[in-house]
C-alpha cells in the first residue's frame, strides 16, 4: 500500500500576545492510501489544528507534512489551494456550504474549479446517491441540517479526492440523522476507495475506522488499529 499522508516531527506554535502557545509537538505518523483513520481527543487537544495541517489549511511551525508525495511546507497559498482542489475533499461540522449557491451548484463548484466540462451529470448522480435528487435547486437555508451535511458529502466526493478530511461530521446533528450521514459517508468512501481521516470525539464513530490516533495536550498518546 502507498503512503498518502506523512507527518514528520510536526509542531505548531501560535503567538498569543507576547507568549508562544504550543498546540502540537513532534507529531509523527503516516496514513496509507485507501485506509480510514480517526483522530480523537478531548476539546483543546489540538486535533482540529492537526487536521488543518494535514489538509494544507495551515502551515506547520516545524517538521514536514507530505501529501500524495508533495511536501506542503514549501508551497505557496495558491499552490496549496490547487493541491486541495486536486487531491482533497472536506466535510465540516457546520457544513460550510456556500449560502448563495443551490445544492447542485455547491456540488458542482470543485469540478468547475478544475476546469472540467459537463459536470452536472456527476453532481446530479452524487446528489441522487445522498438522496437529495428532489432538492437540487434548494439553497442551504432551505435545507435541514442533515440535508446540508448530505450536500456536503456529495460535494466532498465530487472531485474524486485521494483523501477526505471530515471535521466532527456529526457534531451538529441529532443521533438519528448522524447515523444516516455516517452510514452514507462510509458507503461513499468505500465505493470511491478514498482515504478517510475523521476528526471526532465521538468514540462510536471513531470505532468505525480502521485506525484511531489519540491526541492529548498536543501529543499523540496512542495509535491503534482496530
Amino acid at each position: 500500500m502507498n503512503t498518502i499522508l506523512r507527518l514528520q516531527q510536526v509542531g505548531k506554535t501560535y503567538q498569543t500576545g507576547n507568549r508562544p502557545l504550543t498546540v502540537l509537538k513532534d507529531i509523527n505518523f503516516s496514513i496509507e492510501a485507501g485506509s480510514t483513520v480517526s483522530i480523537v481527543g478531548p476539546s483543546g487537544s489540538g486535533k482540529t489544528t492537526l487536521l488543518g495541517l494535514c489538509a494544507g489549511l495551515d502551515r506547520a511551525t516545524s517538521g514536514t507534512v507530505e501529501l500524495h508525495g508533495i511536501e506542503l511546507n514549501g508551497l505557496s497559498e495558491d499552490q496549496l489551494a490547487s493541491v486541495r482542489n486536486q487531491y482533497i475533499g472536506f466535510i465540516f461540522q457546520n457544513f460550510q456550504l456556500l449560502p448563495t449557491l443551490t445544492a447542485l451548484e455547491n456540488v458542482m463548484v470543485p469540478l468547475e474549479l478544475r476546469g472540467e466540462k459537463n459536470v452536472k451529470p456527476r453532481a446530479l448522480d452524487l446528489l441522487d446517491k445522498v438522496g437529495l435528487s428532489e432538492r437540487i435547486h434548494h439553497y442551504p437555508t432551505q435545507l435541514s441540517g442533515g440535508e446540508q451535511q448530505r450536500v456536503s458529502l456529495a460535494r466532498a466526493f465530487s472531485n474524486r479526492p485521494q483523501i477526505l478530511f471530515a471535521d466532527e461530521p456529526t457534531g451538529n446533528l441529532d443521533a438519528e440523522t448522524s447515523d444516516k450521514v455516517v452510514k452514507l459517508l462510509f458507503e461513499l468512501n468505500k465505493e470511491a476507495g478514498t482515504t478517510l481521516v475523521v476528526v471526532t470525539h465521538d468514540l462510536e464513530l471513531a470505532a468505525k475506522t480502521q485506525r484511531t490516533i489519540r491526541v492529548k495536550g498536543g501529543n499523540i498518546i496512542s495509535d491503534s488499529i482496530q
Binding site: L57, A81, L98, L101, V109, E112, R114, G115, Y139
Partner: protein, 847 residues
C-alpha cells in the same frame, strides 16, 4: 502545482451566483455614487449644450457683427470712418439715470439705453406686444423692463419719465441681446429712441455715458480678418471692440468657469459616495469571509477569489453609473430653470452621449478604484477560517498594496481635476484642497466622537446611553456619515452665514445717522436748490463733494502712444483711456490714511507742480510711484501734477472715495458736478424726497441703499438656490450612505435587538434607542458642518469682507433641526424590520 487555466467564464458565473442573495444590497451600496454620477452627467451635458448654444447664438448675444464701445462720442474723421463701416449701423448710448412713473410717482435708478438704427441685426428684442420691439424707435415711446413694470404696477400705454421727456410705454421688455435675468435685477433697462436723448437733458457734463456702435457687415464678410485690419484705427480712436467670435470666446470662457465650478461640486459629491461605497464594500467582504474561506478550501486561489468579487463590483458599478446617467439626463432637463437667470441665451437640453459615456466611465472607474482597498483583503483570507473564525480579522491598512491604491486614488482625483482645470498648479491646489477639506471634516468628526466617548454621560438613562453608544459600534460608519452629511450642511450654512454678514454690513452702514441715500450728477447750478429741498424736508446732508472729470494725457512725460510703442515698458496704456473722477479737498476724510509721502491740502499757485494724492493700490497696480509727474486734461486745460502722497482708502464706507485727490486752490473753477450723501429716516420719507428730487431735477441720479439691500437679497436668493441645489447632492449622498449603512449593519442590529427583546425590552424602548442613535448621528454631522461653516464664514467676514461677524443663528438652527430629523426619519424607516417583528421570527429567519 499549477491551477488549470484562469477560467473567466467560470469566474463570471461564480460572481453571478455569489451575488444572488445580495444584489439589492449591492445596488444600494452603489446608489451612493448614483447622485455623484448624475450630477456629473447633468453638468457635462449642460456644458455640452452651452457650448453648442453659444456657437449657435453668439451672434444674438452681441446683436451685430461688430460692436465698438467708447466712453466718449466719436467725432470728426473717426465718425466718418465709423459711418463708412458695414452695410448697416446702429448707435446706442447708455447710462444710469432715474426714471419716474407719473402714474403712481414710483421712481428708481435704471439703465437707460438710447438706440438708433435697426439693432439688433441678429436676434430680437423680446417684448409684449411683439411689435413693440420695432415700433418704439420712431415715436416718443420706450421699452421698459418687464420686472420693473411689474414692480411699479404700470402697464403698456402708461407713461415713463426719463429726464425731461415723458415717453409712452410701448412694450414690456423680456429679453434684449446679451441681457441676463440677473442684469435686469441689478439695473433694469429702459430703451428709448436716440432722437429723444437730447431733449431729456441727461447729456450734461459729468454723466457717465457709454457709447456703442453696432456694425452689420455684408453677408459673407470675414469679420475676423476685416477687424484685424481695422484694429489699429479702433485703438487709436480709444474704442474697444467685440466681434461675434470674440463674444463666443468670452461667453464660452465664463460658462466654462461656471460648469467647472459645478463639476467640482458634483465631483465632491461623487467622492463622498465613493468613500461610502468603500466602507460598505469593506463590511460586505467581512460578511463574505466564510464563503471566501470555503472557496479557498475547495481550491480557489487568491486571485480567483479576488476576481469573483471584483466582477460583482464592476457589475454594480455599471448599473450604478447607468442609473446615475439616467438621473443625470433627467436633472439636466431642469437645469435651465435653475440657472436661467445667469444665462444670456436660451438653453437647449439635448441628450449628450459624450457626457453620458464620460459619466459611465468615471462611475465604473471610481467604483473599482474605491472598492479595491477593501477587496484586496480577500487575498489574505485563510481557508483556516472555516475551522475556526475567532481571532480572525481583515486588516487592509497593513497591506502595502493598499497604500499604493490610496496613492492611485489621489492620482485619479488629481487627473480628473487636471482634465477640468487644464493646469497642473490648479489641479494640485484643488487636490490638496479636497484632501484638506475631507481631512478637516474627518478630524472634526473624530474630535467630536472622541470627546463624546471621553465625556460619556454615564448618568444618563440606559436608553440614551445605548443610543449614543451605538455610534461607536464595531463597523460603524459614523465618521463617513458625519463627513458627507456634514459637508452638505457646511456648504448651506456658509451660504446662510455669508449672506447674513453681507446684509448686516449694509444694514450697519445705513443704521444710525450713516448716509443711506446718495445723490449724484448734481450740476453746480442745482446745488443750492437741492440743499434747500433737503432742508425743507428735514433731511440732513452728511457730505457734499465736487467731482471734476479729467483724462490722463501723460505720465512722466510719456503719452499713451509712447507707451504702446515701447514694448519694453511694462506700464499699461489703459491708464490713459479711463476717465478720472477727481475731487479736491483740504484735509483727509475719515476713510483715508496716508501711507507714503506727505498730504498737501492746499496749492499755493506758485507755478510748481500740483501735489496730488493717489490711492496706494491703484498706484501699485499701475506702477505709479511717489514723485511721478502726471499731466491731466481737465476738459481742455492741461494740468501738471506730481504724486505727493499715497493714500489707503477704506472703500467699504458709504461715502464718496477717489483714486486721485487734488488739493484745494486748483479745480474750484473747473466744470464740475456734485454728489451729496444724506440720511433719510424711513422708506416713506425716502420715497417722498426722491420723488421731489426726480421731478424737479430729472438729471440727478439717486442710489437708495434700501433698494441695494433688496437687490442684494434677491441676488443671494438666486445664487443661494444654485448652492443649495449642489449642496443637496452632498446631503442626499450622505443620506443614501446612511440608508446603506443601516441596512448593512441590520444583521448586527437584529441580533442586538432580539437579545434586548428577549431580555424584556419593549418595542418603544428599542424604538427610542434607534431614534436616539440616529438623532445623535444627524446632530453630530450637522453640528460638524455648522462648526466648520462658522469658522469659514468668520474668516470670510473678517479677512475678505472686513466686516464684523455677527452670525444669525435662526436659519442655521432650523437647518440643524432639519438635518437631524431627516437622519432620524431615514434611520427609523430603514430599521422598521427590526422593530416590528417578534424575536422568534427573526431568530428563525436569521438561523
Amino acid at each position: 502545482m499549477k491551477q488549470k487555466g484562469f477560467n473567466f467564464s467560470w469566474l463570471l458565473q461564480m460572481a453571478w451566483r455569489d451575488s444572488r442573495k445580495n444584489r439589492s444590497r449591492l445596488v444600494l451600496f452603489i446608489s451612493s455614487i448614483v447622485l455623484g454620477i448624475a450630477a456629473l452627467v447633468a453638468i457635462y451635458s449642460l456644458g455640452d449644450n452651452l457650448r453648442q448654444n453659444i456657437d449657435e447664438q453668439a451672434a444674438t448675444l452681441i446683436g451685430a457683427d461688430l460692436a465698438l464701445t467708447g466712453n466718449k462720442a466719436v467725432e470728426g474723421p473717426v465718425k466718418q470712418w465709423v459711418d463708412s463701416l458695414g452695410i448697416a449701423r446702429s448707435e446706442e448710448r447708455s447710462f444710469a439715470s432715474m426714471i419716474l412713473f407719473p402714474k403712481n410717482g414710483g421712481n428708481r435708478l435704471a439703465q437707460i439705453k438710447a438706440i438708433q438704427g435697426a439693432f439688433p441685426y441678429y436676434g430680437t428684442f423680446e417684448t409684449t406686444p411683439i411689435e413693440a420691439g420695432q415700433s418704439f424707435r420712431n415715436k416718443r415711446e420706450a421699452l421698459v423692463d418687464e420686472n420693473l413694470m411689474l414692480q411699479y404696477q404700470v402697464q403698456v400705454g402708461d407713461s415713463i419719465k426719463v429726464g425731461e421727456v415723458t415717453f409712452a410705454i410701448a412694450g414690456a421688455l423680456q429679453k434684449a441681446p446679451g441681457q441676463t435675468g440677473l442684469s435686469s435685477t441689478v439695473a433694469p433697462t429702459v430703451y428709448i429712441p436716440l432722437s429723444f436723448l437730447e431733449q431729456t437733458g441727461l447729456l450734461q457734463k459729468g454723466s457717465r455715458i457709454t457709447y456703442k456702435y453696432y456694425i452689420h457687415f455684408a453677408p459673407g464678410t470675414d469679420t475676423e480678418v476685416l477687424v484685424k485690419k481695422l484694429e489699429p484705427r479702433i485703438e487709436n480712436a480709444d474704442l474697444d471692440y467685440k466681434t461675434i467670435q470674440g463674444q463666443k470666446e468670452e461667453t464660452g470662457k465664463s460658462f466654462r468657469d461656471l460648469t467647472r465650478f459645478l463639476t467640482l461640486v458634483g465631483f465632491v459629491a461623487l467622492l463622498l459616495g465613493c468613500i461610502g461605497v468603500a466602507s460598505a464594500i469593506h463590511i460586505y467582504i467581512r460578511e463574505k469571509l466564510n464563503s471566501i474561506a470555503i472557496l479557498r478550501c475547495l481550491g480557489v486561489n487568491a486571485a480567483q477569489a479576488f476576481f469573483i468579487y471584483l466582477i460583482q463590483i464592476i457589475g454594480i458599478g455599471i448599473i450604478g453609473s447607468i442609473l446615475g446617467a439616467i438621473l443625470g439626463v433627467t436633472i439636466q432637463q431642469f437645469l435651465p430653470i435653475i440657472i436661467k437667470d445667469f444665462l444670456p441665451l436660451s438653453l437647449t437640453t439635448d441628450i449628450s452621449w459624450l457626457s453620458i459615456i464620460q459619466g459611465l466611465s468615471i462611475g465604473v472607474l471610481i467604483s473599482i478604484l474605491f472598492s479595491l482597498p477593501p477587496l484586496l483583503s480577500i487575498r489574505n483570507v485563510s481557508p483556516l477560517h472555516v475551522l475556526r473564525s475567532s481571532g480572525f480579522d481583515v486588516k487592509p491598512e497593513r497591506d502595502p498594496v493598499t497604500w499604493f491604491l490610496y496613492g492611485l486614488i489621489v492620482l485619479f482625483v488629481f487627473g480628473f481635476l487636471f482634465l477640468q482645470t487644464k493646469t497642473w498648479g490648479e489641479a494640485a491646489i484643488f487636490t490638496a484642497g479636497i484632501i484638506a477639506a475631507f481631512g478637516i471634516l474627518y478630524l472634526t468628526a473624530w474630535v467630536l466622537m472622541s470627546l463624546t466617548r471621553r465625556f460619556f454621560p454615564e448618568s444618563w438613562s440606559y436608553l440614551w446611553r445605548q443610543g449614543l453608544a451605538n455610534l461607536f459600534r464595531p463597523n460603524n460608519q459614523t465618521a463617513i456619515l458625519i463627513v458627507s452629511i456634514g459637508l452638505g450642511t457646511a456648504l448651506i450654512s456658509t451660504m446662510l452665514f455669508t449672506q447674513n454678514t453681507l446684509l448686516t454690513r449694509i444694514n450697519l452702514s445705513t443704521s444710525g445717522n450713516q448716509p443711506n441715500l446718495v445723490l449724484f450728477d448734481i450740476q453746480t447750478g442745482q446745488k443750492e436748490a437741492v440743499l434747500s429741498l433737503a432742508k425743507a424736508q428735514n433731511i440732513p446732508v452728511n457730505q457734499r463733494v465736487a467731482i471734476v472729470n479729467m483724462r490722463l494725457e501723460a505720465l512722466n512725460g510719456k503719452r499713451a502712444n509712447d507707451i504702446k510703442k515701447d514694448t519694453s515698458d511694462k506700464q499699461s496704456a489703459r491708464i490713459f483711456s479711463r476717465e478720472y473722477r477727481v475731487t479736491f479737498q483740504d484735509s483727509l476724510t475719515k476713510s483715508e490714511k496716508i501711507v507714503a509721502g506727505k498730504w498737501i491740502g492746499t496749492y499755493k499757485n506758485d507755478g510748481s507742480l500740483i501735489p496730488i494724492s493717489m490711492e496706494d493700490a491703484y498706484a501699485e497696480r499701475n506702477k505709479i510711484a511717489l514723485g511721478d509727474t502726471l499731466t491731466f486734461n481737465v476738459q481742455g486745460t492741461m494740468m501738471s501734477t506730481q504724486v505727493a502722497s499715497l493714500r489707503e482708502v477704506n472703500w467699504s464706507q458709504v461715502q464718496t472715495n477717489f483714486l486721485v485727490v487734488f488739493p484745494t486752490g486748483v479745480l474750484e473753477e473747473a466744470p464740475q458736478f456734485h454728489v451729496m450723501l444724506t440720511h433719510v429716516p424711513d422708506a416713506a420719507t425716502s420715497a417722498k424726497f426722491q420723488q421731489a428730487v426726480v421731478s424737479q431735477f430729472p438729471n440727478i441720479s439717486i442710489i437708495d441703499l434700501g433698494l441695494v439691500l433688496k437687490v442684494l437679497d434677491e441676488l443671494f436668493n438666486k445664487i443661494g438656490f444654485v448652492v443649495r441645489f449642489m449642496a443637496g447632492f452632498s446631503i442626499l449622498t450622505g443620506l443614501i450612505v446612511l440608508i446603506a449603512s443601516v441596512l448593512i449593519s441590520k444583521y448586527q442590529r437584529l441580533q442586538e435587538s432580539v437579545l434586548l427583546r428577549t431580555l424584556g425590552a419593549s418595542r418603544l424602548q428599542i424604538f427610542t434607542i434607534t431614534a436616539l442613535e440616529y438623532f445623535f448621528l444627524g446632530a453630530l454631522a450637522a453640528f460638524t458642518g455648522i462648526l466648520l461653516a462658522f469658522a469659514g464664514s468668520w474668516a470670510l467676514a473678517v479677512y475678505s469682507f472686513e466686516s464684523p461677524f455677527e452670525p444669525k443663528i435662526g436659519p442655521v438652527a432650523i437647518l440643524f433641526v432639519l438635518v437631524s430629523s431627516l437622519t432620524v426619519i431615514i434611520g427609523l424607516i430603514n430599521s422598521r424590520g427590526i422593530l416590528s417583528q417578534p424575536p422568534l421570527e427573526v431568530l428563525r429567519r436569521e438561523a
